[in-house]
């Protein structure tokens, strides 16, 4: 299998984006630091590290399906290698960004910036190594899950024909914006009560430990991975134009 070669290819198509992203983050940190210095100790908060990299992974996943499938299949690489290379790269990339993000947040705090991650807001009581490791792990798997979700979305669009693309592009946002609120209003009270109980209890469970959050992300990653594999396993090389 040429997993290593595909991994390298994904990396070669990503590192400029990564440099740009962290360059922008560094510029923001320096800007915040400059403001603090010149304002004589103002309050500057930035939490871009927490979810910006997950959004980046989502976008990467969307792009990777078509780009990787076209390139891989046209260069003697099988679908399973294209897929495994992507999954491994996403996991490694997510781990790398999680570590950089933690270091970035520490650096930010040392510079006097308020750089608090979402996980630290959810788990403010964690002050030991195992807890902190759980937070980092939840970020790694969270980023991976977002990347695989993006890959699934990219794959779904890649496999759809033009008519289905239009239908899905209109109906999914419409359902989310109008359909869900209507459903909540129209649903019988027993259903809304059950849903109302389910969400708070799930959030309570997640708030107990970052390892619970990691498990949730892992479930999402596995689900997106399975659906993505179903999309790629018979995918042809499709080139627009």
């Amino acid at each position: 299998m040429k997993i290593g070669k595909m991994f390298k290819w994904y990396w070669q198509n990503t590192y400029w984006g990564l440099i740009g992203f962290y360059g922008a983050m560094l510029a923001l940190m320096l800007l915040g630091f400059t403001i603090i210095v010149f304002s004589g100790g103002g309050d500057v908060t930035m939490n871009g590290f927490s979810c910006s990299s997950e959004v980046m992974l989502l976008v990467m996943g969307i792009i990777f399906f078509s780009a990787g499938t076209r390139f891989g299949l046209s260069n003697g690489v099988s679908r399973k290698t294209v897929f495994c290379g992507m999954a491994l790269f996403m996991l490694t990339f997510s781990a790398g960004t999680a570590v950089i993000n933690v270091l970035g947040e520490w650096t930010g705090r040392a510079m006097g910036l308020g750089t608090v991650g979402i996980a630290e807001i959810i788990y403010p009581w964690i002050d030991n190594f195992v807890g902190r490791l759980g937070i980092v792990l939840s970020r790694v798997i969270g980023g991976w899950a977002m990347g695989l979700l993006g890959y699934f979305i990219g794959g779904a669009y890649y496999r759809m024909n033009k008519i289905w693309k239009i239908i899905v592009s209109i109906t999914v946002p419409a359902l989310l914006v109008f359909g869900l609120p209507l459903l909540v209003v129209a649903a019988p009270s027993s259903v809304t009560t059950a849903v109302g109980k389910f969400f708070p209890s799930t959030i309570d469970w997640l708030a107990q430990s970052p390892y619970n959050l990691t498990l949730l992300w892992l479930g999402g990653a596995i689900l997106c991975g399975i659906f993505s594999w179903l999309l790629i396993r018979r995918a042809p090389v499709k080139i627009a134009g």
């Binding site: 299998m1 040429k2 070669k5 390298k8 290819w9 070669q12 198509n13 780009a67 076209r70 390139f71 299949l73 046209s74 260069n75 003697g76 690489v77 099988s78 679908r79 399973k80 290698t81 018979r234 042809p236 090389v237 080139i239 134009g241």
Partner: protein, 282 residues
């Protein structure tokens, strides 16, 4: 060990359209094949299935005795040069060569750079910024330098001017004589490849119509030319493939072997394009 690509019972359906219909074909070691067919005949579909770029509805492909589908090792022996660009938008020519080297370890970088200079191709340019002709040249160079055991050229001279086409054909023969491999050229420019190909495969409506050595194909018929009235008299009752007339002179392509040809008429080998047109028109 069978050094060939063997397709057995290949069927590809796109909705109600059957692009390939129970195709059985073998592409042997170190030969140049001309894969000919009209638009939509199934040439690209056949190449795409053999190159694992498309899944067949039915049938299988083996490469040197190994299953071809989803097999990295077997597929690594095939280099597919298609019409469209498969690299991401920002890819430069140099990057295309580097990636080709990554995925095809026998890729000859020195030869690729030498060819780029010969064709006047700037390797620092992005593929997206190249003209159709130069994009084709970049892909041709990568294919020639790949040193893969099987190289598929799907419309290899798209957008190339006559000079560059000549250069490509010359380079192809030169490379083939130095490092033989199995080359499959799918093209509509039959006359241009007529003298290069060793085996002719004609595909029509998803079925293999003809699969014979080029020399044998040329001997399937002959061309007779001379005064129109004499040519007409000679051709009466014979199987005519096609004819051309210029003033009082006429040339006619006929099926079969030349027999009892009057001394006033000239005989020449059969034109592959005329044979193709005749076979695929019927």
């Amino acid at each position: 060990m069978h050094n060939s690509i063997e397709a057995k019972g290949l069927t590809v359906q796109f909705g109600t359209v059957t692009a390939l219909d129970q195709v059985d074909i073998s592409f042997g070691e170190n030969r140049i094949y001309g894969l000919l067919g009209r638009n939509g005949a199934g040439k690209s579909t056949l190449l795409n299935v053999m190159g694992n770029r498309l899944y067949p509805t039915q049938g299988s492909v083996s490469i040197d005795g190994e299953p071809g589908a989803e097999n990295d090792k077997a597929q690594g022996k095939i280099y597919y040069m298609g019409e469209k660009n498969v690299c991401p938008d920002g890819t430069t020519v140099r990057q295309l060569f580097r990636w080709s080297r990554d995925f095809y370890p026998a890729f000859d970088m020195e030869y690729a750079n030498q060819l780029a200079a010969q064709f006047g191709l700037n390797t620092k340019k992005k593929l997206k910024g190249l003209s159709t002709g130069y994009l084709t040249i970049a892909k041709l160079i990568a294919a020639l330098a790949s040193n893969a055991s099987y190289v598929f050229f799907d419309e290899p001279v798209l957008g190339l001017d006559a000079n560059h086409r000549e250069m490509f054909y010359r380079e192809l023969i030169h490379r083939y004589s130095e490092r033989p491999s199995t080359i499959i050229i799918s093209t509509h420019l039959i006359e241009e490849i007529a003298d290069i190909v060793e085996q002719v495969v004609i595909i029509k409506e998803g079925k293999i119509l003809l699969d014979r050595p080029a020399e044998e194909v040329k001997r399937m018929g002959y061309m007779v030319s001379g005064k129109a009235s004499e040519v007409d008299a000679f051709c009466a009752g014979k199987q005519i493939l096609g004819e051309d007339q210029l003033g009082g002179l006429k040339s006619v392509c006929l099926l079969g072997e030349p027999e009892n040809v009057p001394a006033t008429l000239e005989i020449a080998a059969l034109d592959l394009q005329k044979l193709f047109v005749q076979l695929t028109n019927a």
